[in-house]
C-alpha cells in the first residue's frame, strides 16, 4: 500500500485474555498485527505470515488458529487467548512449567505457539500418545529442530508418565 492511499479505519471490539479492547483500525490488518502492535502482546510471533509455520498461533474460543491469516475484524465475536493469558500472574501454567522442566526451549521463537498448541491439544485430549502429540503440534515448526523435548514435556503431563 503506498503512502498516498487513504487508510480507512473502522471501530472493532476485541476480547483478549479476558480484557475488552475498543480499537479503531484499518480492516485489512491481521489479528497478529493488532495483537503485537496495538495491544503490545508480542508473544505470538510473525514469521511466514502465510499460515504455514505456526509461530503466530493463538486460541480462539479455546481452539488454536493462525493469527497471521485471521483478520482482526473476523475475531470480533470470539474470545482470544494469547500466550500472555496462560500464566496466573507469575505462576506459569502447567504446560509452560512442563516445557521449562523438560528443557524444551532452545532459541524460543516458536515456543509461545508450541505452548498454545500443546494447551489446546491437552484440553481436547488429556492423555495423548506420542503420535497424537506429533500430529497435534504438526503445524508448529521449530527451526532449531528441537522437537524431542517438546514431546517429552507434553508426555510428562499425561497419565502414563505419572506411574
Amino acid at each position: 500500500m503506498s503512502e498516498m492511499d487513504v487508510i480507512e479505519k473502522q471501530p472493532v471490539t476485541l476480547r483478549v485474555n479476558g480484557n475488552v479492547h475498543e480499537l479503531e483500525i484499518a480492516p485489512a490488518r491481521t489479528l497478529l498485527d493488532v495483537l503485537r502492535s496495538e495491544l503490545r502482546l508480542t508473544g505470538a510471533k510473525r514469521s511466514c505470515n502465510q499460515g504455514v509455520c505456526g509461530a503466530c498461533s493463538v486460541l480462539r474460543d479455546g481452539k488454536p488458529v493462525r493469527a497471521c491469516i485471521s483478520l482482526a475484524f473476523a475475531a470480533e465475536d470470539s474470545e482470544i487467548t494469547t500466550i500472555e493469558g496462560l500464566a496466573d500472574g507469575n505462576r506459569l501454567s502447567r504446560v509452560q512449567q512442563a516445557f521449562v522442566d523438560a528443557g524444551a526451549v532452545q532459541c524460543g521463537f516458536c515456543m509461545p505457539a508450541m505452548v498454545i498448541a500443546a494447551t489446546a491439544l491437552l484440553n481436547e485430549n488429556p492423555n495423548p500418545g506420542v503420535e497424537e502429540i506429533r500430529h497435534g503440534l504438526g503445524g508448529n515448526i521449530c527451526r532449531c529442530s528441537g522437537y524431542v523435548k517438546v514431546v517429552d514435556a507434553i508426555l510428562s503431563l499425561t497419565e502414563g508418565s505419572k506411574s
Partner: protein
C-alpha cells in the same frame, strides 16, 4: 478497504449486488494469506462469519447438507458423514494442521478451487451438488461442472456458495480419501478419493476421483467400469489406474515432477481401494 459483516444471507447478497468490487471472506485461511503476500487487493470485504444459516451439518433421509461456512474440524469429526460420505470426512481430517482446520471452511476451500486441495476430489467422488445463491435466487451446480480450471469455478458474480449437498450414495457404500504429501499437513502431491460397494468379494459400485492431478479433479468412467465386477485384484486396479493416469495432467512443481505424480496414481489407488475392500471404517 472496508469490512462488512452482514448478519443474514439476504443482507450479504444485497451487498454483493450493490458494491462493485466486493469479495467474500469465509475462514480467511487462504484469502488473508494472499492479501499478506500482496497477491490480491480488495475494496470491500464481506465477512460471512455472522451468517448462522451458512454453518452446520444437517441430514435428511436422502442427503447430508453441509453449510458452506462449516469448518474443516467440524466436518472431520462429524458422526453424520458415514458410509459413502466417509470420503468427505476423511478428506477434511487430512487438510493441513489442527489450527488451519479450525479456521478453514468447506465453502471457502471449494471457491478457491485449488486443485491441490483435498475437498475437490472428495466431493467429486461423493457426487456432491453445490448450492449457490444470488440476489436473483438459488441454483444447484453438479460438482462435475463446478470446477472449471485452476482457481476457477462456475460461480457467477454476485453469487455465494451456501451449501454442499451430499447424496447418501448406494446402500453399503464406503468412502475414503488418501493423499501423499511431502510432509505432514502439506498439500497433496497426489490424492485419490474413492467410494465403493462390495457385494461379497466383488466390487459392485465404484466412484473414483483424483486430486492434484490436473487443473480440476479428475473422474474417468471407464476406470470405474474396470473395477466394477472385479474382485479388486491387482489386474483390475492396474487397468483402472492406467485409465486414470491417461486422463491426468499433473503439474511439474516443488511437490513432485509430472512423472513422479503419475507413478503415485496406481499406488494411491491401490491403497484407497484396499482400505475400503477390507472394510475398515474410513478414518483419518
Amino acid at each position: 478497504m472496508r469490512y462488512l459483516a452482514p448478519g443474514s444471507l439476504k443482507e450479504a447478497l444485497d451487498i454483493l449486488r450493490r458494491e462493485d468490487d466486493a469479495r467474500c471472506i469465509a475462514g480467511g485461511a487462504t484469502l488473508v494469506a494472499m492479501m499478506n503476500a500482496d497477491l490480491v487487493a480488495v475494496d470491500v470485504l464481506v465477512g460471512l462469519g455472522r451468517i448462522a444459516e451458512l454453518s452446520g451439518i444437517t441430514e435428511t433421509d436422502d442427503e447430508v447438507r453441509i453449510g458452506a461456512m462449516t469448518r474443516h474440524a467440524e466436518i472431520a469429526a462429524s458422526p453424520v458423514l458415514t458410509g459413502a460420505l466417509g470420503v468427505v470426512r476423511s478428506a477434511a481430517g487430512q487438510i493441513a494442521h489442527p489450527a488451519v482446520r479450525n479456521m478453514g471452511t468447506i465453502g471457502g476451500s471449494i471457491c478457491h478451487a485449488d486443485p491441490a486441495a483435498d475437498f475437490p476430489a472428495a466431493l467429486l467422488a461423493a457426487d456432491a451438488t453445490i448450492e449457490a445463491a444470488s440476489a436473483e435466487g438459488t441454483r444447484q451446480i453438479p460438482i462435475g461442472e463446478f470446477f472449471e480450471d485452476y482457481f476457477e469455478t462456475a460461480l457467477r458474480e454476485g453469487e455465494i456458495v451456501t451449501a454442499i449437498r451430499l447424496p447418501r450414495g448406494p446402500a453399503g457404500a464406503r468412502g475414503h480419501h488418501v493423499k501423499f504429501s511431502r510432509v505432514d499437513g502439506d498439500y497433496a502431491t497426489v490424492s485419490v478419493s474413492a467410494v465403493l460397494v462390495m457385494a461379497g468379494a466383488t466390487c459392485s459400485y465404484a466412484r473414483i476421483a483424483l486430486g492434484s492431478s490436473g487443473p480440476v479433479p479428475i473422474r474417468v468412467t471407464a476406470a470405474e467400469e474396470a473395477l466394477v465386477g472385479s474382485p479388486l485384484d491387482q489386474a483390475a486396479i492396474a487397468e483402472a489406474a492406467r485409465l486414470l493416469a491417461e486422463a491426468a495432467d499433473p503439474v511439474d512443481d516443488v511437490r513432485g515432477t509430472t512423472e513422479y505424480r503419475l507413478m503415485l496414481i496406481p499406488r494411491l489407488l491401490a491403497r484407497a481401494l484396499n482400505t475400503l475392500k477390507d472394510g475398515e471404517t474410513a478414518s483419518v
